[in-house]
Structure formats: C-alpha cells, structure tokens
C-alpha cells in the first residue's frame, strides 16, 4: 500500500516554499482581500445565531461518535446505498481509487468526465491518473476551471483560485477559450465559463464528484455547492462516480440539521449556500442510471489509531481555519505541498503521508489558537500540532540528527548544577571573539541561522549564583 497526498512527498518544505510566496506582493494582496471578505461575512452570520456554540458542540459530538463506530456506519451505508441501486467500492490507497475510477470510465466506454470540485480527487491525483489512461477530466467549478486552464495549483480548500485576480483570470480565459475581446468584469468572466461548460454538461456521459456527507441510515450522499455545476454533474450524466474519504460518513439524514447550519456559515459566510443536493442510489427517470461510490482509506485508518490526533478526521473542509490563520494569510495555500492547506492541512497531510514526508508542516503555525476558535466541529488543531511536533522530535531522535544530539547534551548539562556552571564559564570564554557592546553579533556555522534574524545578549561577566556566593563572602568579611 502506498499512501499519497497530491505531490506532498516530493514537495519542498513549508519554510522553503513559503519564501518566494512572501515576496509575491500581488499574491499576498489577493489572498488578504479574499480571506478578509470571507471572515467578515462569516462573522456576521455567526453572530446572528444564538446557538452557535451548541451547534458546534453537537457537530463535534456527532463526528466523534461516528469515528468511534466507523466500521458500523460504513457497513450500514454500504447496505442502504446498495439497496437503493448504488454500487459501493473500497480503496485502500490513492492508486487503488484511481484505478477503480478509470476502470469504471472505460467500462462505460467514455473518454471524458465532468467533475465537481473535490479535495479527495486532488489528494489521489485522479486527474493525472485519468489523463494517463487517455480520459479527459473537465473541471466545472469556476475556481477549479481557472486552475485547470491556467495550469495553476489550488491555494484554498473552498476557493481554490482565490490567489488569482480578475485580470489574471481574463488572461487565462482569453488564451484558453479563444476569446480575445473578453473584459475583466467578473460578470463577463463568469458568463464565459457558463457558455464554455454548458455544452459539456449536456453531452458528457460521466460525472465525478466528492461528497460532503454520506448518511449511513439512508445510504444517501450530500453535496453542498453554490454554482449549480454540482447539480449539473449529479443529474445530467448517465453515470455518476463519487469518491469519498471514509470519514465523510454521518449516522443519519437528520444530522444534516446540524451540519447544514455549520458548514455554509463557516465556509462562505452564508446562512445557506445556494444549492444542497441529497440523493440515494438511483432515482428512476431522474438523474444518472448508474451510481458508484468509492470509499477511500489512504492513511485515514492510521489517523484513527492515534487517539490524540483522531479528531483530525472530524474535519468538514469548510476552510474557516485557513481564513483566520496568520501564517496561511501570509503564504497562501501554495506553500503546503498539497491541496490541503492552512492549519487543517498542516495536521492532515503529515498524518496521511507519514511524518517523514512532511516534517515541516506541524511547524507551519504560531499556535495562536485562532483555528480552534473558528472550527465548526471544534477540532483542537493546536493540540494536534503539538502532538505531531512531539512525534517529529521522537522520530528525529531515533535517527540521531545534530539537533537531537545537541538537545541530549543540553539535557545532560541542565541535569547537574556543577556541569551547568562549568558550561557557563566555558561559554563566557568562548563568546569573547563574538561579543561587541554586550551583544553577540553572529554565531558561527549552522548556529548563525539563529542570530541572523534574532538579537542575542552576551552572557554576563558574572552569574547570579556567582554574585550571591561572592556577596556572602564579602558580608562575612565585613562582620568579622
């Protein structure tokens, strides 16, 4: 089994990837504008509810409960969905999911699919796998279409193209849609996308979606969206294939009463998003004649096994933690190595692919706690980040790297006051050539990285303990 999350395994570390982004003033302006707007709208619609904390508590409890009985609810979903005419497939990892979907598309003799925006197919790299198999995926969400035509990477869980502004969109559409006279008004750009995709909606035979919620008791699937491209892909094609992580399950259709209040307010700052669709298997005479669900593990059962990090799987992908995160707001999602960005990406990705492939991500946070405060299902992201940092350190310790070695030495020194005082005396001697006017100007070698961006006071000529001992001696001398 090989677990993959986008291109995380080969992506540069967060800190490396962030540097050029921090110098891209246009990108930072675009991100700041977009996240400010969503945060403001979210604040208004959350403030007008009087039971927001009660909804969060319920959302948290329902998701935690579902995870405690995940096998039970998956089997219940499988049974109900199958009874309604759907077919349920299981995939251990990304490649298996991609193979199942590609094989289904070939089985129905198609070479093109229309897609609803889904994080999970980003995770598995489905588009690349389909293209490799000679199948053309067409993204139909406006943001995803902009990325696909412009060959760009997603920078946000909900608004994947929010780092691209109107004039950049115009440039992409002008070239890719052959519309040299297109203006940069958002209305005109949106209308161009509508015309471009309408013909696809009416002709392509297979739709591919993710899922916001799978309801175990009825075997239904729920998709939450705004544009109507989702409804197009769900109802116009002959065949619908939905790829869903196993954690997307909720016990009952009735639980939508909680999540359909939490998700739209958190994601887009709306009381309700324009369209929510729920369907159950096949509905004769209305919509696809064949329906397949692919249930994906790809590392999720590993997260389930870690009691302290299990809450990561409660995520409903609203993106609120991104918008509020002081780190994300500077770098955008492009620094996180996969489509899962921001605080939630920093805990999801390393756990899915394994810490060794994404060691920098648990450190892509100031631990300020803003993400926890806005999370609609109360995932304590800072707590999980610290837990993962602990795991990173333990893994490094086992691998004997210089930092771990230095820490071990420091521990030995701090353990005895004699050793500590000896080290202080040694430090005073060693620092002499580096000190000027009471400050250490630059440490040599690797340690220089630290003093490059921080001030370091020189060790004082006398420590408190030395002063205390000397004072005692002097006093005794005076009294004699």
């Amino acid at each position: 089994m090989t677990i993959r999350v986008g291109e995380t395994a080969t992506a540069p570390s967060f800190q490396k990837a962030a540097l050029p982004l921090l110098e891209d003033a246009q990108l930072r302006r675009n991100i700041r504008h977009a996240t400010d707007v969503i945060q403001h709208k979210r604040g208004l619609v959350v403030a007008e509810t009087t039971d927001w904390q009660d909804l969060r508590a319920a959302g948290h409890a329902i998701k935690a409960h579902t995870l405690r009985h995940l096998d039970h609810y998956l089997l219940q979903f499988e049974k109900a969905c199958t009874a309604a005419g759907g077919q349920v497939h299981w995939a251990s990892d990304a490649d298996e999911a991609n193979q199942i979907i590609a094989a289904l598309v070939r089985q129905y003799d198609a070479n093109e699919v229309i897609k609803i925006k889904t994080m999970t197919t980003d995770e598995t790299g489905l588009n690349e796998a389909l293209e490799h198999a000679g199948i053309h995926p067409v993204e139909t969400d406006l943001g995803e279409l902009i990325l696909q035509l412009g060959r760009e990477k997603p920078s946000h869980i909900v608004g994947p193209s929010l780092h691209i502004n109107r004039s950049q969109v115009r440039a992409i559409f002008r070239e890719q849609m052959h519309l040299p006279d297109l203006s940069d008004e958002p209305e005109k750009l949106t209308a161009a996308a509508r015309r471009y995709l309408r013909e696809k909606f009416l002709s392509v035979k297979i739709g591919v979606s993710g899922a916001n919620f799978l309801m175990a008791d009825t075997g239904s699937v729920c998709i939450v969206e705004s544009e109507g491209n989702g409804r197009m892909c769900l109802t116009m094609p002959d065949v619908l294939i939905s790829l869903a992580g196993i954690e997307k399950i909720i016990p009952s259709f009735r639980d939508l009463e909680v999540f359909l209040q939490l998700l739209p307010r958190s994601a887009t700052g709306e009381r309700m998003n324009p369209y929510n669709s729920v369907w159950t298997g096949i509905h004769p005479g209305d919509g696809p004649r064949h329906f397949h669900v692919v249930l994906l593990d790809n590392g999720r059962t590993g997260i389930l096994a870690d009691q302290e990090a299990r809450q990561t799987l409660q995520c409903i992908r609203c993106g609120a933690c991104l918008n509020t995160c002081p780190v994300y707001r500077q770098t955008s999602g492009l620094a996180y190595g996969s489509g899962y960005s921001g605080p939630i990406g920093a805990i999801v990705t390393p756990q899915l692919v394994g810490l060794q492939h994404a060691q920098s991500l648990p450190y892509a946070s100031s631990l300020c706690g803003a993400c926890y405060e806005v999370c609609p299902v109360k995932i304590n992201i800072p707590e999980v980040l610290i837990h993962l940092r602990g795991r990173v350190v333990r893994e490094q310790k086992a691998a004997l790297d210089p930092e771990a070695l230095a820490m071990k030495m420091a521990a030995a020194i701090f353990a005895s006051h004699r050793r500590f005082e000896a080290a202080q005396r040694l430090g005073r001697l060693a620092q002499r050539p580096l000190v000027s006017k009471g400050w250490v100007r630059g440490l040599p070698g690797m340690l220089g990285n630290w003093t490059r961006v921080r001030d370091l006071r020189a060790l004082p000529p006398q420590t408190f303990r030395e002063w205390w001992r000397k004072r005692g001696r002097d006093h005794r001398g005076n009294n004699d």
């Binding site: 009660d54 009985h69 949106t190 491209n229 509905h283 209305d286």
Partner: protein, 219 residues
C-alpha cells in the same frame, strides 16, 4: 477487468474494516452512544406565523430572490403578471402541478413533453415545493408531483416557485424533519439563484443554474 477490480475491492474492504477495528478496539453500543450526543441547539422556531413569514421574505430578498405575496385564488394572475413583465414566452410547468394554479391564457409546455433542448432554451419553469425555511431563505424540493425532476429546476434561466404559507418553517431542524423520507431521500435545497464568488469574492448571480428565482407566497 471487472474481475481484477472486484478482487482488489473485496481485499480492500476487508483490510480497511480490519484496520478500523484494530484502531478502535472494543466499542460500546452505537445506539446508546448516539443518543448521548448533546443537542442543545434550537430546534423549534419561536416566532408567530406573521413574524415567521416576514423573516422569510426578508431572507429571500437578502439573497436576490424576488417575493410576491398573494392569495390562493390569485395565483394564476400573479404568475401571468410576472411572466408578462419579464417578457417571457416559453415556460415549462412541472408535471403534477394543479392546473387551476396556472393562468389559462398562457400556454405552458408540460414537463414530460419537454426535451433537454427545451429545458436549455426555455425562459423559465413553474414548480411547487415541499418546505421552505424562513431563517435561511431556502426552498426545499423533494421532486414529487408538481416539483419536477432535478434537471427541470436547473437548466432553465428562471424558476417560479409557489410556496404555501403553511410550508414555511422557521428553523433548519424543522425543515429537515419534514424532508425525512423512508424511501431514499432525494432533496434539493435552493437558497437564491445560482451564484459564485470565485473571482475576487464578488458575488455573481447565475453561473450554471437559474439566474432568477421568484417565490410566490400564498397566504
């Protein structure tokens, strides 16, 4: 080929379930555990019917839906007025819509006679709904008689939806209660016209679904 898929599938299914059970260890009874979920949030609305309908109208307008209020006898003339003022000619009526709700002087294309091309090039459609939510300005369809198949309320550019006052509930939980179905739910919740904010967070109406939504509220 199918054999290969099925082979890995069965293996994957067993392997995933096994990994889940190993991760969870012994578990309690799901039903009693589920009953312990705290549900302190608001379920029942607190407004009287006048205030509830007022809130519904406000919230619909907030998300670019037009609202016309009328009594049962005047529904046909109200529909006619909306269609005429917008210069609409080709309108499809959902199958199962009671004919007495439609103006006799206007020729409607019945849903079952409409092709996909008709849906694509018509001016609009007329439907009923199952429930409406005042708090969020939402109409809920279950696609039974008078509500149309799902594509009917998607491809055309304008939707006229007839909502009876007694279908309007205040809260989301009250609406979900009315949408629960034992025979496999098929639900579409619509809140305003189709929209996007993917370009610089500017809200644009009518990306792929109807650009206009008119609610006819029947008192």
């Amino acid at each position: 080929m199918a054999g290969i898929i099925e082979g890995t599938m069965t293996d994957a299914r067993e392997a995933i379930l096994q990994r889940i059970r190993a991760a969870l260890g012994p578990t309690a009874d799901p039903a009693s555990d589920y009953a312990a979920v705290p549900r302190e949030y608001i379920r029942e609305g607190r407004l009287d019917s006048e205030a509830r309908l007022h809130l519904f109208r406000e919230r619909l307008r907030d998300y670019d839906t037009t609202v016309v209020e009328t009594d049962a006898a005047s529904v046909p003339t109200t529909i006619l007025a909306i269609l005429r003022s917008n210069g609409q000619k080709k309108i499809i009526a959902a199958d199962g819509l009671p004919p007495q709700l439609l103006p006799p002087e206007f020729r409607f294309l019945p849903e079952h006679q409409a092709t996909v091309e008709d849906l694509n090039d018509c001016d609009g459609i007329v439907t009923l709904c199952t429930v409406a939510i005042a708090w969020t300005g939402t109409i809920g369809l279950t696609h039974g008689p008078g509500e149309g198949a799902r594509r009917l309320t998607l491809l055309p550019d304008r939707q006229l939806c007839i909502v009876r006052a007694d279908q309007v509930v205040e809260t989301v939980p009250e609406a979900i209660e009315r949408l629960v179905s034992t025979s496999g739910p098929r639900v579409t919740l619509i809140s305003g016209p189709s929209a996007t904010a993917d370009i610089e967070m500017t809200r644009i109406r009518g990306v792929h679904g109807p650009r206009s939504l008119d609610v006819i509220l029947v008192r």
